[in-house]
C-alpha cells in the first residue's frame, strides 16, 4: 500500500468498480443542489441527510445479503413495522428497559421473522418472492391486530431511548454511525469470509453450489435471518427516530429497499453486488428526496425520477456487462 503504483491501482479500481458510478451521481446531485441552494451542504443539512438515509441503508444492506443469493425479501417493511411497534410497546410499558436491551430484543424479533421466511424458503424450497409476498401480508396483519389502532408517542418512551435517534457524536448522528457500522460489518463479511463468498456462489449458480458441497439451504436460511435482523434493527431505529409509532410504520418501504439495492448495483438475480453499493444506493435515493424538496421541484416528480433512476441503473449495468464481455472475447481470441 505504498508508492505511486498502488495509488494508481486504487484509482483504477475505483473507476472500474460499479459503486463509483453511484458516487459520481451522488456528487453531481449534491453539487447541483448546492449551487442552487448553498446551505444544502451546511452541517445541519448533511446531518439530516445522513439521518434520513440511515434506516433505508440498514434495510438495503440486509436485503443485499438475501438478493446476492438469488432470493428476495419483500417482507422487510412489515417486519420493520412490527418491530417498531413492539419496541414502542415495550418501552412504554417498561420505561426502565435499558436502550441496549430494547435494541437487542428488536433485532431478535426481526431475526425471528427472518427465521419464518428462511424456514419456508430454504426447507420447503419455495420461491422467496412468493413466500415473502405472503409474509408481507401476514406480518403486517399481525402488527395491525396487535396494535388495534394504538399509537405510541414520543412522550410514552424514555428520553434515553429517543436520544438514539437524535444524539450526535462529534457532530455525526448516532443513527448514521450505527448504519455505517452495519454496512462495514456486512460488507466486510460478504467479501472476506467463506460463508459470505458462498452466498455469491449460490446466487451465481445454485446448481453448481449444491454440487460443490456448499450447504445451500443453511446459507440461504442464514441470509434471511440476517435480513430479518437488519429489518428489526431498522424498526428499533425507526421508533427512536420518529418517536411516533403505529401499525402502519414502514408500509410500502420494501420497494424503496429493493430499488436502493438495484440502483446500488446488486444484481436482482444474484451473484454480484456489494453492501457498500446498496448503502450508496440508499443514500442516493434519500438525497434525491431531499434535493427535490430543496430545489422546490414539483414533488409529484419525485417518484417518476426514482423509477427512471432504477431503469438507468439496470441499463447501465447491462451496458457495462456487455462491454466487459466484448473485451474478454477480444482478449481470449488473441490468446488462442
Amino acid at each position: 500500500m505504498s508508492g505511486r503504483g498502488s495509488v494508481v491501482g486504487v484509482v483504477r479500481r475505483f473507476w472500474s468498480a460499479r459503486e463509483s458510478g453511484i458516487v459520481v451521481a451522488l456528487v453531481l446531485l449534491v453539487l447541483v443542489t448546492t449551487v442552487d441552494s448553498p446551505n444544502f451542504l451546511s452541517p445541519q443539512s448533511v446531518r439530516d441527510l445522513l439521518l434520513g438515509a440511515a434506516i433505508l441503508v440498514v434495510l438495503a444492506v440486509g436485503q443485499t445479503v438475501v438478493v446476492i443469493s438469488r432470493n428476495i425479501d419483500l417482507s422487510v417493511g412489515s417486519v420493520l413495522g412490527l418491530v417498531a411497534f413492539a419496541t414502542g410497546k415495550l418501552l412504554s410499558s417498561a420505561p426502565a428497559t435499558p436502550t441496549a436491551v430494547a435494541v437487542l430484543l428488536g433485532v431478535g424479533l426481526g431475526a425471528v421473522c427472518g427465521v419464518v421466511n428462511g424456514v419456508l424458503v430454504a426447507a420447503a424450497r419455495v420461491p422467496a418472492l412468493v413466500i415473502t409476498l405472503g409474509t408481507l401480508y401476514a406480518f403486517r396483519g399481525v402488527d395491525h391486530s396487535w396494535a388495534r389502532g394504538e399509537q405510541i408517542n414520543a412522550s410514552d418512551m424514555p428520553r434515553s431511548f429517543l436520544g438514539l435517534g437524535t444524539w450526535t457524536v462529534l457532530g455525526v448522528p448516532v443513527l448514521a454511525i450505527i448504519a455505517l457500522t452495519v454496512v462495514l460489518a456486512v460488507g466486510f463479511y460478504l467479501r472476506n469470509y467463506r460463508s459470505g463468498r458462498e452466498l455469491y456462489a449460490i446466487g451465481s449458480e445454485p446448481a453448481a453450489a449444491r454440487l460443490s458441497g456448499i450447504p445451500v439451504g443453511r446459507r440461504v436460511f442464514t441470509s434471511f435471518v440476517v435480513c430479518g435482523a437488519s429489518a428489526g434493527l431498522a424498526g428499533v431505529l425507526y421508533a427512536a427516530r420518529f418517536g411516533t409509532v403505529d401499525a402502519t410504520a414502514g408500509t410500502g418501504i420494501e420497494l424503496q429497499v429493493v430499488a436502493a439495492a438495484v440502483v446500488g448495483g446488486v444484481a436482482i438475480f444474484g451473484g454480484s453486488g456489494s453492501a457498500y453499493g446498496a448503502a450508496l444506493g440508499a443514500l442516493l435515493l434519500t438525497t434525491i428526496g431531499s434535493s427535490l424538496a430543496v430545489l422546490r421541484i414539483n414533488p409529484f416528480w419525485q417518484q417518476a425520477v426514482v423509477g427512471g433512476l432504477i431503469l438507468a441503473a439496470i441499463g447501465l449495468d447491462r451496458l457495462l456487462a456487455v462491454r466487459a464481455a466484448n473485451r474478454l472475447r477480444g482478449r481470449s481470441s488473441h490468446d488462442a
Partner: protein
C-alpha cells in the same frame, strides 16, 4: 419480415378506423347526463323517540389509524348510550376501492346506520347510494362525499373556521409578519386542499398583509417524507418564520425535526395535531400552540346524527334540530352539514387536561 410489416399495417388501419368512428359524435363533457338527485325525502318527526337496537357501523378511512380509533371510540360510547349495537369495520390501507367493498358488505348486512369518512369524495358515492336505497342511513364525518350521496355530514369544524384558526395561530407566533410555508398531507387530500385554499383567502385580508405563503410541501402523511420536506423547507427558505401543518402526522414529524435542530425556537410551528403526540414538543418549547377538534366528540356526534336519521327525527334537511347526548342540541345547516364546533387550541396551559 413482410408478415411483420403486414401485421403492423393492419393494426394501424384498425386503430385509425376506431379513432375516426370515435371522433365523429360521441359523449363529450358538455353533453353528459347527470344523476337524478336523491336528496332528503319524506318528512321528519322531531318528536320521534330514538329507536333502540340500531345497527351502527363505523367505516373510517383506515382501521387501526389512531385518529380514527379515538373518533370511532366516541361513536361507540354514543351508540351504547342509545342502546344500539356498534361495530367498526374498514380496510387496513386508506383506499377508496376497499371502502366500496366494505360499504357493499354493510349494505348486504342490512346495517341501519353507516358512519364513514371518505377516502375519495366521488369513488364511494355509488356504493353509498345503493346502500341508502337498501335502507341504510349514511352519515359522513371528517371527510365528506358529494352531498347527494349521504344524508348528513358531520363536519369537525367549518373549513373557514379551521383556516381562520390556523392563520391566527401562526400570525400570533411570528408576530404578524413574515414568510410561512405549509406542510400538508398527500397532494390530493381533499380536506387539506380546501383548508389551504381558504387560508390563502384569509391571508388576503389587510390585517395579515405581512404574511406570505411561500410554498406548500407534501409529507404524504408519512413520517420520513414529512421530515425530509421540513428539512427542505428550512433549507430553501432561510428566512422562513413559520410552518403550518394542518395534518397530525405532518405536524408531529415537523415538531420532532425542529426540536432537535438549530431552528428550534426560531421557526414557529403550528397546525392540527393530537395532544398526546404534541405534548412533548409543547413542553420543550418547540411548539407554542396548535389546534384540533376532539375526535371522540366528532364520532360521538356522528353516531347521534345517524340514530336521529334512522329514528325519523331528522331527514337531513337544513334547519332540522336534534339532541346529541352530552354535546347538546345541534342544527343541520345547508347541504345537510352539521358542524361540531370551533377547534380547541392546545398550549402549555391546557394540554395536560387532554388524553387522545
Amino acid at each position: 419480415m413482410s408478415q411483420h410489416q403486414r401485421t403492423v399495417r393492419v393494426g394501424l388501419i384498425a386503430v385509425l378506423a376506431l379513432l375516426v368512428t370515435a371522433a365523429c359524435g360521441g359523449t363529450t363533457r358538455g353533453s353528459g347526463d347527470s344523476p337524478t338527485s336523491n336528496r332528503a325525502t319524506g318528512s321528519a318527526n322531531p318528536d320521534a323517540a330514538l329507536v333502540e337496537g340500531l345497527d351502527v357501523a363505523f367505516l373510517p378511512k383506515q382501521v387501526n389509524n389512531p385518529y380514527f380509533t379515538v373518533a370511532d371510540g366516541g361513536g361507540k360510547a354514543a351508540t351504547e348510550e342509545f342502546k344500539g349495537s356498534y361495530k367498526e369495520v374498514g380496510p387496513s390501507e386508506a383506499s377508496a376501492s376497499s371502502q366500496v367493498s366494505y360499504i357493499n358488505t354493510l349494505s348486504q348486512q342490512q346495517t341501519d346506520v353507516i358512519v364513514t369518512s371518505a377516502n375519495d369524495p366521488n369513488a364511494i358515492c355509488g356504493a353509498l347510494t345503493s346502500a341508502r336505497q337498501a335502507g341504510a342511513k349514511v352519515v359522513t364525518f371528517d371527510s365528506d362525499t358529494k352531498p347527494e350521496c349521504r344524508d348528513v355530514f358531520v363536519n369537525q369544524a367549518t373549513a373557514e373556521g379551521i383556516a381562520k384558526n390556523q392563520v391566527e395561530l401562526i400570525s400570533a407566533q411570528i408576530g404578524g409578519a413574515g414568510k410561512i410555508a405549509i406542510l400538508s398531507a398527500t397532494p390530493n387530500a381533499t380536506n387539506q386542499n380546501a383548508w389551504i385554499e381558504l387560508m390563502r383567502e384569509e391571508l388576503r385580508k389587510p390585517e395579515h398583509a405581512g404574511i406570505e405563503i411561500v410554498t406548500v410541501a407534501y409529507g404524504n402523511d408519512d413520517d420520513q417524507k414529512s421530515f425530509q420536506e421540513t428539512q427542505g423547507l428550512l433549507r430553501s427558505y432561510p428566512d422562513l418564520k413559520g410552518i403550518v401543518s394542518p395534518t397530525t402526522v405532518g405536524v408531529a414529524a415537523a415538531a420532532r425535526y425542529l426540536s432537535t435542530s438549530e431552528y428550534k425556537g426560531k421557526v414557529a410551528l403550528t397546525g392540527l395535531g393530537t395532544p398526546n403526540q404534541m405534548r412533548e414538543f409543547v413542553k420543550d418549547g418547540t411548539v407554542e400552540a396548535f389546534a384540533l377538534w376532539n375526535p371522540a366528540d366528532l364520532g360521538y356526534l356522528a353516531a347521534y346524527a345517524g340514530a336521529a336519521l334512522a329514528s325519523g327525527r331528522i331527514t337531513g334537511a337544513a334547519g332540522e334540530e336534534f339532541e346529541a347526548g352530552k354535546l347538546g342540541e345541534y342544527t343541520i345547516g345547508a347541504d345537510g352539514v352539521v358542524v361540531l364546533g370551533p377547534p380547541t387550541v392546545f398550549d402549555q396551559g391546557n394540554i395536560d387536561q387532554f388524553d387522545f
